[in-house]
């Protein structure tokens, strides 16, 4: 471990805090439908969309209608992408003449991009045409991110409104988020990445002659534009198989820092927006504080584990930290930090191979996802995820101040508890259930690259990543089989929408309630006490369920590594 390494981690946390408020202010304007400087140019475009679609943006919808609109939109997107991927061979912009995808791969990929997971069972440059990348996949990078933010908006309205019947208008939220946030931000960001050395071209691959005289095909394409939304929208699906470890996706230290920061930017900003909307920005800061506390602990553990290295390697004379599967350009600290960020948020972009981390170093990313990606989390999804924990935390501990529990002025009653438990139970149910299934089935075991507990970690990681809509891979696992593509596709769909539906129902139920004015008798949800409590609730209610699985995977693996056992 080095001082620079720790400074990088703490400096990054400080940057996130700095970014949160400006981003939150901007998001709040969009949430409220207020006029922004961009309206002068984009206002007519926005109105044009409404007119074309026959949508009245002022029409307030109840949670059911909001949910139906959202589901219909996502289903159409799913079908569209599935069709494009299947018909890739006959569609244009296919410079390498790539054929259509197999049914299960197309299904898996379409679900993956629709659900903001961006799990990739394939290597992008070898399977996807430019058309598939730009039309079939990149649109989802925008729409799945916008869907997440829109849903967070609906949830925020649930807390902020009083005695209201609606939670907003899905179409208006989608249009505004895309138009006033994602598109302009990505435009600027892509240009910055271009300046940092990321290519942007439609000319396809180039052939190069290497120093040894061999011929090599180097894939090229509109990388910068995809890179921007991949990070900002916590999508994580890379243009290249190597993702952000590829020099064309992530050329240097500065782009690396910028990419890490952009993963957290919107998620962190939404906490501020939440606080502002419920009338007390301290509420938002408290949530962000809890997120960053858990994050810093996780990053610290990963960094320590990676920097300590592997004693088996040490015995072979390879000194220092664990550099297996890491880019030398980034080193131990930046790789450990990136891995923690990408799994804390629901991004899934990687700049190192998580499979090659030490077992404990790899357990932190795994655990981050198992907590439901509430540590900043996916755009929108992180906020509504942690708010579900807030509801449970307030319910359990809130009674201890002698009042029936309330959070930001809303009474938490049977209905909210039931729905929150439902949403939070989805994760262990699917992750553990499907991992168990894969761990005992022929087809499941076939995909492993390793034996022993590490192979188990690979399977566990895949399902965790899918259900949590992360999309990062532990690598190692060969997932492009009908078994894994199918099962993981289902896992991604359930992991996204089986959390969203109960969450929306809570939003509807909360919006209809009165606001209880805060008093000194109200449960305090702003101070350090609450931050600590929230972290404990996340770890105990969210994390404890996975302890047996973690014990048999990474923990057994780590113990074996320290004892020098090989499998």
């Amino acid at each position: 471990m080095t001082v620079q390494g720790w400074l990088l981690i703490l400096g990054f946390v400080a940057l996130v805090v700095l970014v949160a408020k400006p981003m939150g202010v901007w998001l709040f304007a969009i949430l409220e439908g207020r006029r922004t400087p961009l309206h002068a140019v984009l206002g007519p475009v926005e109105r044009g969309f409404y007119a074309a679609a026959g949508v009245d943006p002022a029409q307030d919808r109840g949670w059911r209608r909001y949910g139906v609109d959202m589901l219909v939109f996502n289903l159409i997107g799913l079908l569209l992408t599935y069709t494009i991927l299947r018909l890739q061979g006959v569609l244009p912009w296919n410079s390498q003449g790539l054929p259509g995808l197999s049914g299960h791969l197309a299904f898996n990929t379409a679900v993956s991009f629709t659900t903001n997971t961006n799990w990739q069972s394939y290597g992008g440059e070898a399977v996807m045409s430019q058309f598939s990348q730009m039309v079939g996949l990149t649109i989802h990078n925008f729409f799945s991110a916008a869907t997440g933010i829109a849903l967070a908006f609906a949830f925020i309205r649930g807390f902020a409104r009083r005695e209201a019947s609606g939670v907003g208008n899905f179409w208006a939220d989608m249009t505004r988020v895309t138009l006033y946030l994602l598109l302009p931000a990505c435009l600027v960001y892509a240009v910055v990445l271009l300046a940092g050395g990321v290519p942007q071209t439609l000319s396809g691959a180039v052939d190069a002659t290497t120093l040894e005289g061999a011929r090599q095909t180097i894939g090229l394409g509109p990388v910068a534009s995809q890179e921007a939304i991949k990070m900002l929208g916590t999508n994580g699906g890379g243009y290249f198989n190597a993702n952000s470890a590829h020099p064309f996706e992530n050329p240097g230290a500065l782009t690396n820092l910028l990419q890490m920061l952009s993963i957290f930017a919107i998620g962190a900003g939404l906490t501020w927006t939440f606080g502002k909307a419920v009338g007390n920005t301290k509420q938002g800061w408290a949530i962000l504080a809890a997120m960053l506390l858990l994050f810093t602990i996780g990053a610290g553990v990963t960094y320590s584990a990676e920097a300590a290295g592997n004693p088996i390697h040490h015995a072979l004379g390879i000194a220092g930290g664990n550099m297996e599967g890491k880019e030398v350009r980034f080193g131990v600290a930046a790789s450990a930090l990136f891995a923690t960020i990408t799994t804390a948020a629901s991004c899934g972009a990687v700049n190192a191979m998580h499979d090659s981390f030490t077992p404990i170093g790899g357990m932190v990313p795994l655990f981050n996802m198992q907590l439901g990606e509430v540590i900043v989390g996916g755009v929108g999804a992180g906020l509504y995820g942690i708010l579900l924990y807030c509801i449970l935390g307030v319910f359990v501990a809130g009674l201890m101040v002698g009042r029936t529990p309330e959070y930001v002025g809303k009474k938490i009653e049977g209905r909210e508890v039931k729905l929150a438990v439902l949403a939070i139970a989805v994760l262990p149910l699917i992750i553990l259930g499907m991992t168990g299934l894969a761990a005992v089935s022929e087809a499941g075991l076939a995909g492993r690259a390793n034996m022993g507990p590490h192979g188990f970690s690979e399977i566990l990681y895949a399902f965790t990543s899918a259900v949590a809509n992360n999309g990062s891979a532990f690598a190692g696992l060969t997932a492009n089989t009908a078994f894994y593509n199918g099962l993981l596709g289902v896992a991604m769909w359930l992991g996204r929408f089986f959390v969203i539906i109960p969450m929306l129902a809570i939003a509807g139920s909360l919006a209809a309630k009165r606001v209880v004015p805060a008093s000194t008798g109200s449960f305090p949800t702003t101070g350090p006490l609450w931050v600590g409590l929230l972290c404990a609730v996340i770890l105990i209610l969210g994390g404890l369920t996975f302890l047996p699985a973690l014990a048999l995977g990474p923990i057994a693996d780590q113990v074996a590594m320290l004892r020098g056992d090989l499998f």
């Binding site: 501990a397 101040v401 262990p428 302890l547 074996a560």
Partner: protein, 672 residues
């Protein structure tokens, strides 16, 4: 409150039936009402079967002990509930005894007929003579009588009951000790106040309260999550080319699911209602008790709650050319025969502050206060002193500079929150008596406490706004409602509720009924009318409006106890994982022995110790569940910090110590 002398918590008379009750409650139809304990019972049954047919995983002695402790866990939970119910049942039995078999004299035509109380219908009129028990709840239609209500209130001093006023309600089972009453029956057989009270304390018709239901949902949710966590372990173990015996999985499941709070949940609820009953307050529903904890605004009547009922003379103000001593002498003379608190305090003030001492001359004519003249006085052979309401005095004396000054002085007194009485001697205005509302001792401190708890107090008074403002300031209430009519009260409550606040109030008159019904917690005085008692969701048997403050505390205590034990129960899980996981997995990967942080002797001993801890913690916490977590009137932040430290952090650490100690005992005794 003489009825608080009920059996102590662990007296033998309650323990015995509670143990019997614990076994009776093994009836699956009863167990299913508590899903977590039901799961525990099912698992215990499963292991019992496995014990008999034989299964892998440890020796027969180990498995027999596991089964024994699992059943004990279920029984402990049942015992806690039975014990809480037992206390109520004992009270209900004594109530039933007082009620006995009542008979009534129904008025038929011009005579009466004796019928059993069960034959009385709503609308019947009964005659109750001296010495008889009132056969049914009703309203006095004729007569004035003193009634001994000790059977209900525990208060042996009789109270007056008469028709037409705010004291017209009578309760079945109370005794007429003077005169007679004609009572119109308002409650049919089995519907009366006493019947409801019996049902309430007995807990027979206990409905789960909204918060209890929500908590049960959470506990069921956690149980399902842990079922998944434990249910998938065999597949994971299979991957590691091993197997985990069902016995051990079952043990892990039972320690993880929130058995502690589930076992104590209904006991906490019953004990909470019971505390209220001991406090001589009857809540008609558990919902009302919970709402009491949530109260944001307390509406308190000024008289009797904030101030002593009586006003006292605090100063004499002379006007014109009269001296204070002259005034004091006149006041004393006029008040010597006045037995009202105002009169008595005037005499004391004149003697102690002004050193005046006059005696009532023989043959003096005493003019008593009358509502028409609003004056009282004394006429002797050589003087005539009158005192009374300022307006009335001004009517009987000619306008003069002294009259103008009197007006000014009395306005001043009113502004300062006092009530002025004017004094005239032989047609000459002497000055005014300053009558002051005396704020009850300690009440100001109570309001400070309430404010710290985040509760706003609002004083309700019939006084004018000036007087009300001044008393409000002196008593330290946050707000006041002056010249309040029943409609004003109702409107005020509605306004607060629209703002999202919960309001509590107490009242006794029929005109209070709408407000009592509208309030989230409406406490009716037992001396009040039937309408008020019907409208409120609590009845205070002692008719003491100050109790509203304690009722809020009791409501909070109930919720806090529930929260504290839930937090404790959930944080226990961390240690239990560390006890059982290494024991379970060490056969798969020997290296996982590092997770055995407590250094437990053997895998069997670790599992058994965790199960024993899980069972024993229930009876250990029964006293806390029944007594309730101590409530302190401090802000929510301080309360949370304290309870989190005790029940959260304590819940995290204590099982590590407890399980280790049990393990030492278990391995020391060679049990596993």
């Amino acid at each position: 409150m003489s009825r608080t002398a009920s059996p102590s918590m662990f007296s033998g008379t309650l323990i015995g039936p509670a143990i019997a009750g614990a076994f009776a409650k093994l009836d699956p139809r009863q167990l299913i009402r508590n899903p977590v304990m039901f799961v525990t019972a099912v698992v215990a049954l499963l292991l019992t079967v496995l014990l008999i047919v034989g299964s892998p995983g440890g020796g027969i002695a180990f498995k027999a002990q596991l089964v024994f402790w699992l059943w004990l866990t279920v029984l402990f939970g049942n015992f806690a509930e039975a014990l809480a119910e037992g206390r109520g049942k004992a009270q209900a039995a004594s109530l039933r005894a007082t009620k006995g078999e009542l008979t009534g004299n129904r008025i038929v035509g011009s005579g009466t007929e004796s019928v059993p109380a069960s034959a009385l219908k709503v609308g019947d009129i009964v005659l109750v003579s001296v010495g008889e028990l009132i056969p049914a709840d009703g309203e006095v239609v004729e007569g004035v009588a003193s009634v001994n209500e000790a059977a209900i209130t525990g208060e042996s001093a009789p109270v007056i009951r008469e028709g037409g006023g705010d004291r017209s309600a009578v309760t079945a089972g109370t005794r007429v000790v003077s005169d007679y009453l004609k009572v119109r029956v308002t409650a049919g057989p089995g519907q009366g106040f006493l019947d409801r009270m019996i049902a309430l304390v007995e807990g027979a018709e206990r409905q789960k309260t909204p918060n209890e239901i929500a908590l049960t949902i959470l506990l069921v949710g956690l149980t399902i999550v842990f079922l998944i966590a434990v249910g998938t372990i065999p597949m994971f173990a299979n991957y590691a080319a091993g197997a985990v015996p069902v016995v051990i999985l079952a043990a892990l499941l039972i320690t993880l699911i929130p058995t502690t709070i589930a076992a104590l949940l209904s006991a906490i609820g019953i004990a909470g209602m019971d505390r209220l009953v001991r406090f001589n307050v009857l809540a008609k529903s558990g919902r009302a008790v919970e709402a009491a904890g949530d109260i944001d605004v307390l509406l308190l009547d000024k008289t009797g709650t904030i101030t002593l009922g009586d006003r006292q003379a605090s100063e004499f103000r002379a006007v014109g050319r009269a001296s204070e001593r002259e005034l004091a002498e006149a006041v004393m003379l006029a008040s010597l025969a006045d037995e009202t608190p105002e009169g008595r305090s005037s005499v004391v003030l004149a003697r102690e502050k002004y050193g005046v001492d006059v005696a009532l001359p023989a043959g003096a004519e005493i003019i008593a206060f009358s509502a028409q003249t609003r004056l009282s006085g004394v006429r002797t052979d050589d003087t005539f002193v009158q005192k009374g309401a300022v307006d009335s005095i001004l009517k009987i004396v000619p306008d003069s500079p002294a009259a103008a000054e009197l007006r000014r002085v009395t306005d001043e007194i009113a502004r300062a929150g006092g009530t002025p009485l004017a004094v005239v001697r032989d047609g000459r205005i002497l000055g005014a008596i300053y009558l002051k509302d005396i704020i009850k001792g300690g009440i100001r401190e109570r309001f400070v406490e309430l404010r710290r708890m985040g509760i706003r107090t609002v004083m309700i008074t019939g006084d004018n706004p000036l007087t009300a403002a001044s008393i409000a300031a002196e008593a330290g209430v946050d707000d006041f409602l002056a010249q309040a009519t029943p409609e004003d009260k109702l409107a005020f409550i509605r306004k607060e509720q629209v703002g999202g606040r919960l309001v509590a109030m107490c009242g006794d008159g029929t005109n209070d009924a709408p407000a009592l019904a509208q309030a989230d917690v409406g406490v009716a005085m037992n001396t009040g009318t039937q309408a008020a008692r019907e409208a409120g969701n609590m009845v205070d048997l002692d008719s003491d409006p100050t109790k509203l403050i304690e009722i809020v505390g009791l409501g909070k205590q109930l919720l806090m106890t529930r929260g504290a034990l839930t937090t404790f129960s959930i944080s226990n899980d961390v240690a239990k994982y560390f006890a059982i996981l290494p024991a379970m997995f060490v056969v798969l990967y020997p290296g996982l022995a590092v997770l055995n942080v407590m250094g437990l002797a053997t895998p069997e001993s670790a599992i058994l110790s965790a199960i024993i801890f899980n069972a024993l913690i229930i009876p250990l916490l029964v006293p806390l569940a029944l007594k309730g977590v101590k409530y302190r009137p401090v802000g929510a932040g301080a309360l949370l910090a304290r309870n989190l430290a005790i029940y959260g952090v304590g819940g995290l650490i204590s099982p590590f110590i407890g399980i280790k100690l049990i393990d030492l005992a278990v391995s020391g005794l060679g049990l596993a």
